[in-house]
């Protein structure tokens, strides 16, 4: 077991300050208002504190999503733990929706009432513009699965409370954006290449070349087939707990048989219809929209990553059904 030492963490997240909502709303409105950039010193301080709160909240969200994704173990994961983490994710998402931070980012670019699909464009642009800074999103997380996954977010975000430009605004993940682009009949190949190159770009800067390149190649291949595999929806996460009973009807049996099969196209439908009908994303859609992690994630020892990559292969085989 790795040493569990406590990281000295700001108590913002764990605190019970009732004023945090006030601080946040005060700071945020000022920051993103159309009134302009004039920010008084007090509100600047307020914005900084609220940004740090939202930073930490975002990192908690990221951490929770990573924990949920790491369900592909050899032994069945703990359902109680998964449920508690999922509830935490839902709480954060509800608060972010309530605080308006979900919409804030889109408004910054659109500045007004727009249709949900246009809002998506905004966030997509936002994501793209940050490509150079951001690490590869979903799949880089997956590549560190089994390594010290907490290091991915913990050290950078939970410890450092600095306000930076790469503030953790919520945006759609590449995979979601990917699907959306396909649906919009954008030239898939060209976009694939753009995405891939943008994803590989930061990836090439990694220290551990061999593993990461292999990983990236693997992920790129997989991505073309099934971009939405690994951030499984909650149904799939909890669905692995189902077993095939003798008694249920043929439909459910079929469903269970295919529960591990890539259902990305169904997810695509639900995601798109969901977006058309309501801008608010369900709590479990957050799994599909993992925000970019912040600093370069540290990689565990190469040997442990290698064995985990074998495990990863095995898991991907099952999912893709090769």
């Amino acid at each position: 077991m790795s040493a569990c030492t406590l990281v000295s963490v700001s108590t913002v997240l764990g605190c019970h300050s009732c004023s945090r909502i006030d601080m946040f709303s005060k700071g945020t409105k000022r920051k993103f208002s159309d009134d302009g950039d004039e920010m008084l010193d007090e509100s600047l301080a307020g914005a900084q504190v609220s940004s740090s709160y939202s930073l930490q909240r975002q990192s908690l969200l990221d951490m929770s999503l990573i924990k949920l994704q790491l369900c592909h173990m050899l032994v069945e994961p703990n359902l109680c733990r998964s449920v508690l983490i999922a509830n935490t994710v839902r709480q954060i998402q509800e608060e972010m929706t309530h605080d308006g931070s979900w919409q804030v980012v889109t408004e910054a670019f659109c500045g007004g009432s727009q249709s949900p699909s246009e809002r998506l464009v905004a966030t997509e642009v936002l994501c793209r513009s940050r490509e150079q800074d951001a690490e590869p999103k979903l799949f880089s997380v997956l590549s560190y699965e089994g390594c010290r996954e907490e290091e991915v977010v913990a050290d950078e975000t939970l410890c450092s409370v600095s306000v930076s430009d790469t503030a953790s605004n919520v945006c759609l993940s590449e995979s979601a954006r990917h699907c959306w682009e396909r649906d919009e009949l954008v030239d898939a190949d060209r976009d694939d290449e753009t995405c891939e190159s943008s994803r590989l770009g930061p990836g090439d800067d990694e220290d551990d070349d061999d593993e990461d390149d292999d990983d990236e190649d693997e992920e790129v291949d997989i991505d073309e087939e099934s971009p939405r595999d690994n951030p499984k929806t909650m149904g799939q996460v909890f669905g692995t707990f189902e077993i095939k009973n003798g008694t249920p009807g043929p439909d459910s049996a079929l469903e269970e048989l295919f529960s591990d099969v890539d259902a990305s196209y169904y997810d695509l439908d639900t995601m798109l219809t969901g977006i058309q009908s309501a801008p608010k994303m369900g709590p479990y859609d957050l799994l599909d929209s993992l925000a970019p992690s912040h600093g370069p994630p540290s990689i565990g020892s190469p040997s442990s990553c290698r064995s985990d990559l074998n495990e990863l292969d095995h898991i991907m085989e099952i999912i893709v059904g090769s």
Partner: protein, 448 residues
């Protein structure tokens, strides 16, 4: 304070024994996963991650003399569960023993139920100290005798032999749980028992293995709507129709099996309103109840959540009658504990014989004794350093912040890998069993 099972302020705890490997390199299979005394306290059973059950027996030879300490020695060891593979889900089923529960003794043999994630087994532990000798038709080594050579008949007689303790599986209760079994509880009627997994509770008859009744089912139609799971369940010690189950949202439901066949509708709901000043993103996780235990009297029940122990009066649903903080200094560290998964640790708790003191574990191999009558609490440590025979345990103190006094340990120095999740208290005497990762410590009351 005299009286068996009492734990008043006069009680000082001394080291008695430690079982298990000394070296720090812990083999995963040796990690202790459950500890349980039988109803007389003479036997102490432990289960480990490797699927083995080890039973210790109290040495009763010197019990007549009060000065002598009774020791627990290995009585029986057997492999209860083996690892299995679920081919449909491509997942392993761990052989780790989640719970052991003893049946009340009815005859010379002892019976216990042991369970892993999916299967419950009834084991019979019996002694054999005599064997028959002098068969007519077979030799002592078992070979058959040639009947033509037999000229006389004799009656076989029993002769003493070295004590042999045999454990044999009597019943296997399988294929009834889709989710992981977290609790088993024997009913006071001594005929039935319940087993609880994350979403369902089943009622079994001890004699019948191919059928069980589902009495609680909280699985939603759509698994995506799942927000709450069952964390523990127990039968009332005297009322055979009553049981309780706790949830990950900090609620306890009491059900009456006479009311209906399916006890989805509770007859009582125990829930404490949330303290709004302590609200955080971790509030729900730390409110999740990891253990629920009825008092021996049957009037109270105790619940353990991440930071506290609560005593509930069964007649009052809206709040506990007593609340004890186990390690409040961790409240400001919840984010880190969430990150390293320690926040999901499931601590157990137990009552002493006369329900006056409760005990539960903590980190850094600390455990807490909470005296309900004296309103005192003490933190003790199970460590090799304090393992000299009859060494009195010194109270430990954790410094939450600020200046650290001498003999105090600061929160940041605590070892979160050393957790005491499982503890047990002898039903009549002041003898406690405390399980660290792979060692079992036995402490006794100091006798002067």
């Amino acid at each position: 304070m005299a009286g068996a099972g009492g734990g008043g302020n006069d009680v000082q705890w001394c080291f008695s024994q430690v079982k298990g490997a000394i070296d720090d390199d812990v083999a995963e299979a040796d990690i202790i996963s459950t500890v349980e005394f039988n109803h007389s306290g003479e036997l102490l059973a432990t289960g480990d991650k490797g699927g083995r059950v080890v039973i210790f027996q109290q040495d009763t030879e010197n019990k007549s003399q009060p000065q002598c300490r009774s020791e627990y020695n290995v009585y029986s060891t057997f492999q209860s569960h083996e690892p299995e593979f679920d081919y449909l889900k491509s997942l392993e089923i761990e052989e780790k023993i989640n719970k052991i529960r003893w049946l009340p003794q009815k005859n010379a043999a002892q019976f216990l139920l042991s369970t892993n994630d999916k299967t419950i087994k009834l084991w019979k532990i019996s002694e054999r100290d005599k064997r028959p000798e002098g068969y007519n038709l077979k030799e002592e080594d078992g070979r058959c005798r040639d009947s033509t050579t037999i000229t006389t008949l004799r009656v076989p007689v029993f002769r003493p032999m070295d004590l042999m303790v045999e454990a044999s599986p009597r019943r296997v209760f399988a294929n009834a749980h889709t989710y992981h079994i977290n609790s088993i509880s024997v009913n006071s009627d001594n005929e039935t028992y319940l087993s609880a997994d994350d979403l369902r509770i089943n009622l079994w008859h001890l004699e019948i293995t191919d059928r069980s009744f589902n009495i609680v089912d909280i699985k939603p139609a759509n698994m995506e709507e799942l927000t709450e799971v069952i964390t523990a369940a127990e039968f009332h010690p005297h009322q055979c129709n009553t049981f309780v189950y706790s949830s990950s949202k900090g609620t306890i439901r009491m059900c009456d099996m006479r009311a209906s066949a399916l006890c989805d509708k509770h007859s009582k709901l125990f829930e404490e309103p949330e303290d709004p000043s302590n609200r955080s993103f971790f509030s729900e996780i730390i409110s999740s109840i990891s253990d629920v235990k009825f008092s021996h009297s049957g009037r109270y029940m105790m619940t353990r959540d991440y930071l506290s122990v609560k005593i509930w009066d069964l007649n009052m649903e809206n709040r506990p009658v007593e609340t004890y903080q186990v390690h409040e200094y961790l409240r400001s560290k919840l984010c880190s504990l969430y990150e390293n998964d320690c926040i999901f640790d499931k601590f157990e708790c137990c009552w002493n014989g006369n329900d006056s003191v409760v005990m539960t574990g903590s980190y850094n191999n600390f455990f807490r004794m909470l005296d309900r009558t004296q309103r005192r609490d003490v933190t003790l440590e199970a460590s090799r350093e304090s393992s000299k025979p009859r060494q009195v345990l010194k109270p430990r103190r954790v410094c939450a912040g600020g200046k650290r006094k001498k003999d105090e340990i600061s929160v940041d120095s605590l070892d979160f890998n050393k957790k005491i999740l499982h503890t047990a208290w002898h039903p009549q005497e002041n003898i406690i069993a405390v399980a660290t990762t792979n060692n079992l410590y036995i402490f006794q009351e100091k006798v002067n």
